[in-house]
Symmetry: C2
């Protein structure tokens, strides 16, 4: 299967908003997670654990630039920043992407973090 993040020209909705030597910050139109985007390496890597040291450093540099931009445009009240690694963890495109998610005080789910649902007792593994 062709990797959609190796072939951004095939993606109608993804727009490259910021970039540096090793990484891109992408955004697509959002109905709910207003302003959210993704940082991806230019090279194909599957998960965060596969990034090179240089790509890891470039991710941080771009993350701080993305935050500055999002702060100015959307004025969020906080951010979730993270990776899903593996389909069991919710990864759908197997070219690593760091989700950068502005959060807002006027969201119904304001105050709920990335672990809130999965840490509920009902999610205990069946072992």
């Amino acid at each position: 299967m062709v990797c959609p993040f190796c072939h951004l020209e095939s993606q109608d909705r993804q727009r490259v908003v910021l970039e540096n030597e090793h990484c891109l910050f992408l955004q697509e139109p959002q109905e709910v997670l207003i302003g959210s985007g993704m940082i991806i390496p230019r090279e194909h890597r599957e998960t965060v654990f596969d990034l090179t040291e240089e790509e890891w450093a470039a991710t941080f540099s771009l993350l701080k630039r993305a935050k500055a931009l999002l702060d100015e445009v959307y004025e969020p009240d906080g951010y979730n920043v993270g990776w899903n690694n593996g389909s069991v963890a919710g990864q759908e495109v197997f070219h690593v992407h760091l989700h950068v998610i502005p959060r807002y005080a006027d969201e119904p789910l304001a105050g709920k973090g990335i672990r809130y649902w999965i840490k509920q007792p009902m999610n205990k593994p069946g072992r």
Copy 2:
């Protein structure tokens, strides 16, 4: 208020499992998110955006060591890795901590990632 992650000696349940020059990997007993832990900088920083370059690099080094350890001990099927930044995003301790969350195929919520709930239409900000 005294920062609990600056004063780990005050924390009965948190155990330092791995460490390097700038960071610690902590675990505490878990009922649901089996094997999950956190990577924190030794110095007090509030959010991921406040880390130094050296702390960011040390975070990656420790993340890969933590994954190797967790793979061996718990044999998970994937990982969520991420930060809550700001109380609106679910941050409860204001000393930055990277959640490292093994995920398992036999969890009821297997396949659901860190955005699954917050991206639902019901969570649209009220602006």
